[in-house]
């Protein structure tokens, strides 16, 4: 056990932070998210060229074979800058599912992904499923030439722009059964697919997808028939750690902004930071951030070496923690900023919104606490 980062890891984090400090300041980000599509193709191209899209992808699929700790370091840096590009959708979810589900297809798809030439999205949750991964009612019906998909996928992150959607559907079993869920590769512009796209409250993009008799070929099946759930759970657990790392980055930035504000803003003739109540509350925020950071990387370190209940439990712990701590830090940061914290022009509110939406992505703190209890 060592509990420290390697020099390579420190360099990776540094290089991403340097890039973002240069190209992705708060104003730049505002322009990007208000621009066409809500994110920057140029930034994405840079990510590809700098090797960051390839980094978390396994070497056998043309990636650089980064570990979950590496991925967490990247996400932390993205969290500090509130990156809105489709990294979670394409890399953390999409590429990982393809790699785990179907090595053969991975060899074809992932090099394109790593090159920044193909965007993926994972269409799994449905209006009534909330955070329950087994609850899939989208139906896949076999036809002569392939499969016909019918159903509604809810709040698909970057489902608006994906070239390829990875869609879970029932080829057997009842609504909440573990067996019978199969993954399909569906072109983003498939016939019969209606997209309602929207910005999300935190400045990302999403879509609700209606599949109305969408026909795909036999080769659209990704991986083993009816056995997708284990893969989905594994990928979502790892994505929970990645989201937590992003949250840790956002929390750190939030604490920094708040501390800076307390130092510069005066009230009753004194800097706000001289008021003991505000000092202690800033310390509480910092403390939450420190402990979340420590737990996050410990969990990331576990992800690549354990499986099953141990993996699930660890992932739920950090996801529950980031939900709780992120909420506390975000709310307190706005409060400590006073009226200014309520305005769109200050960065603090944007971090707050991202922190709250990280919580509702793949299960909020309450859901994950329940999951931990149910596993006990």
């Amino acid at each position: 056990m060592s509990f420290t980062f390697t020099d390579d890891q420190r360099q990776l984090a540094d290089s991403i932070e340097r890039y973002l400090a240069d190209k992705y300041g708060f104003e730049q980000r505002n322009r990007i998210r208000k621009g066409e599509g809500g994110w920057s193709r140029q930034v994405w191209k840079d990510f590809a060229e700098l090797g960051w899209l390839a980094f978390p992808i396994a070497e056998e699929h043309g990636g650089l074979g980064g570990s979950t700790v590496d991925l967490a370091l990247m996400m932390e840096a993205f969290g500090k800058a509130l990156v809105v590009e489709p990294f979670i959708a394409t890399i953390v979810l999409g590429a990982e599912i393809v790699a785990r589900a179907d090595p053969e297809r991975a060899a074809e798809i992932l090099p394109q992904v790593a090159a920044g030439e193909r965007l993926l999205a994972f269409a799994h949750s449905e209006p009534n499923s909330r955070y329950d991964l087994p609850r899939v009612s989208t139906m896949a019906t076999e036809s002569d030439e392939g499969w016909i998909l019918d159903g509604h996928k809810a709040v698909v992150l970057h489902g608006d722009c994906a070239d390829t959607l990875i869609v879970s559907a029932r080829t057997g079993g009842r609504d909440d059964e573990r067996d019978g869920i199969t993954l399909f590769l569906v072109p983003g512009d498939a016939e019969g697919l209606t997209k309602r796209t929207y910005p999300t409250i935190d400045g990302m993009r999403g879509a609700d997808l209606e599949f109305d008799g969408v026909r795909v070929g036999l080769d659209a099946v990704l991986g083993e028939m009816g056995k997708a759930l284990d893969i989905v759970e594994g990928v979502v657990d790892r994505a929970s750690v990645a989201l937590a790392a992003e949250g840790v980055g956002a929390m750190q930035a939030t604490v920094d902004l708040t501390t800076e504000y307390l130092k510069t803003r005066t009230q009753f003739g004194k800097p706000l930071g001289s008021f003991q109540v505000l000092q202690h509350r800033a310390v509480d925020m910092l403390s939450e951030t420190r402990f979340a950071h420590a737990l996050c990387y410990r969990t990331a370190g576990l992800m690549d070496s354990v499986g099953g209940v141990e993996r699930a439990r660890a992932a739920s712990m950090i996801k529950a923690e980031i939900g709780r701590a992120g909420k506390m830090v975000g709310e307190e940061a706005v409060q400590l900023h006073g009226g200014m914290g309520m305005t769109d022009e200050m960065a603090v509110g944007h971090y707050f919104k991202r922190l709250r939406l990280i919580d509702v992505t793949f299960g909020n703190a309450g859901h994950h606490l329940s999951r931990i209890v149910d596993m006990a």
Binding site: S125, P127, N128, R130, Y131, D132, R135, A154, V155, D176, R196, Y198, P199, T200, I201, D202, G206, D208, R265, Q267, F268, G269, V277, L278, E331, V334, Q335, G338, G339, G341, M342, T343, D344, E345, G349, H350, F352, K353, R356, L357, V360, T361, N364, G366, H367, L369, S370
Partner: protein
């Protein structure tokens, strides 16, 4: 101690209910119910209905157009209005500036302003806060210089809620720079159509634009629009802060939110079960019901003490803190209730000019996350909760 409604009070509740059933426009109630924004026209339409009934200003003395209700009647009225989905009466005129005019204004000011407040012909806004003044209100710097029969006012006000609709602004300005900061402050009523005034919306983190910056550049304000004496504005402002302070607890509004929350929590499913049956969610709901009942109990006690002429003291600071904690707690539970559907940002779905498409997710969904984010303001405005605690430590504990 009598905590059960009397038959007369029950009858009054029924009277209010009947009135609301008959007179509250359905389109307005529906907007309120879904958490959508209420347009200026909607507000004025409803307030004129209340005026016609004589119920627009329960806090006013009867001789000026008040209702003469007991504290309990006022409480029942507020609660029934909130439960029926009536929009809140915009407080800046009726609740805030009017008592100051009644108490410190001259006869001409009373004649000129009060009737138009009562009839909602004038929309008022409050020009207190300034950039940099925050909780330290007395540090304000907007300057008013006497020039013959006018004050010439220059400066910037901020966090001015709904100033975009306002005909008039009551405001604190600095007429003297020496001495204690409180001493050089004057209370002016400013016509928002005056040359030199510009209103700029401030977008808040929920994406809405209810608040504004108001810039004043050499705005000429007739001396006749000054309330009371020059340099005594702080006194008048403090009187205003002391007036109707139990309403800040917003018990009626929170009861309505709670009812809405329960209805949503019975609809939304998690693990195939309504979330109201989730043990943790249900307990948090129960706790907030206890909090709300406690709040209401202290509000009623305070109202009765006030009506018996006993001093209210610092009680409103307790009510403000607890009231806003409850309001914020409700918005948290509301946002949590819709799960991942908190994410889509659909401002068109709750704009005040209406929208006829189906939203993504449930109908009640689009407004909930913005409500949560917007309502973080509740613990900041009206004297932040930290300021309230400073006041309580000093006034009640003597620390």
């Amino acid at each position: 101690m009598d905590v059960v409604l009397s038959p007369e009070e029950e009858a009054f509740r029924q009277e209010v209910r009947d009135f609301l059933k008959e007179k509250l426009p359905a389109d307005i109630a529906e907007k309120t119910g879904n958490g959508f924004r209420i347009s200026k026209d909607d507000h004025v339409r409803w307030q004129k209905i209340l005026h016609e009934k004589g119920w627009i200003a329960p806090n006013w003395p009867v001789e000026h157009g008040g209702t003469g209700w007991t504290p309990m009647q006022k409480h029942i009225f507020d609660e029934e209005c909130a439960l029926a989905g009536a929009p809140m009466v915009i407080p800046f005129g009726v609740t805030m500036v009017a008592p100051v005019i009644m108490k410190f204004g001259n006869e001409a000011q009373k004649q000129r302003f009060l009737p138009r407040i009562l009839s909602s012909d004038d929309w008022w806004c409050q020009g207190y806060s300034e950039p940099g003044s925050g909780s330290d209100l007395a540090s304000l710097r907007t300057k008013a210089v006497l020039d013959g029969e006018h004050y010439v006012v220059t400066g910037q006000k901020t966090w001015t809620t709904l100033a975009q609709h306002a005909d008039w602004m009551f405001t604190l300005v600095r007429t003297q720079d020496t001495g204690k900061p409180q001493e050089g402050i004057t209370f002016l009523l400013i016509d928002m159509k005056s040359p030199g005034i510009s209103v700029h919306p401030i977008t808040t983190l929920d994406g809405s634009a209810e608040i504004n910056s108001v810039f004043l550049e050499d705005v000429r304000v007739p001396v006749e629009n000054r309330i009371g004496e020059e340099g005594k504005g702080w006194t008048y402002a403090k009187y205003l802060l002391g007036h109707e302070r139990t309403s800040i607890a917003a018990v009626g509004r929170s009861k309505a939110q709670l009812r809405k929350l329960k209805s949503i929590a019975r609809t939304e499913l998690a693990g195939g079960r309504p979330i109201i049956k989730d043990p943790d969610y249900a307990r948090r709901l129960a706790q907030i019901e206890i909090d709300l009942l406690s709040l209401e109990s202290l509000v009623l006690r305070t109202l009765y003490a006030e009506s018996e002429g006993r001093p209210v003291g610092a009680e409103p600071s307790f009510l403000k803190i607890k009231g806003t904690q409850i309001q914020q707690g409700l918005t948290e539970l509301l946002m949590e209730a819709i799960g991942p559907y908190a994410a889509p940002y659909q401002p068109e779905a709750f704009r005040d000019d209406g929208w006829n498409e189906e939203p993504v997710g449930p109908d009640y969904g689009p407004a909930l996350a913005p409500l949560y984010f917007n309502w973080r303001k509740a613990s900041i405005y009206g004297g932040s909760n930290e300021i309230q605690k400073n006041i309580l430590a000093k006034m009640v504990l003597g620390l």
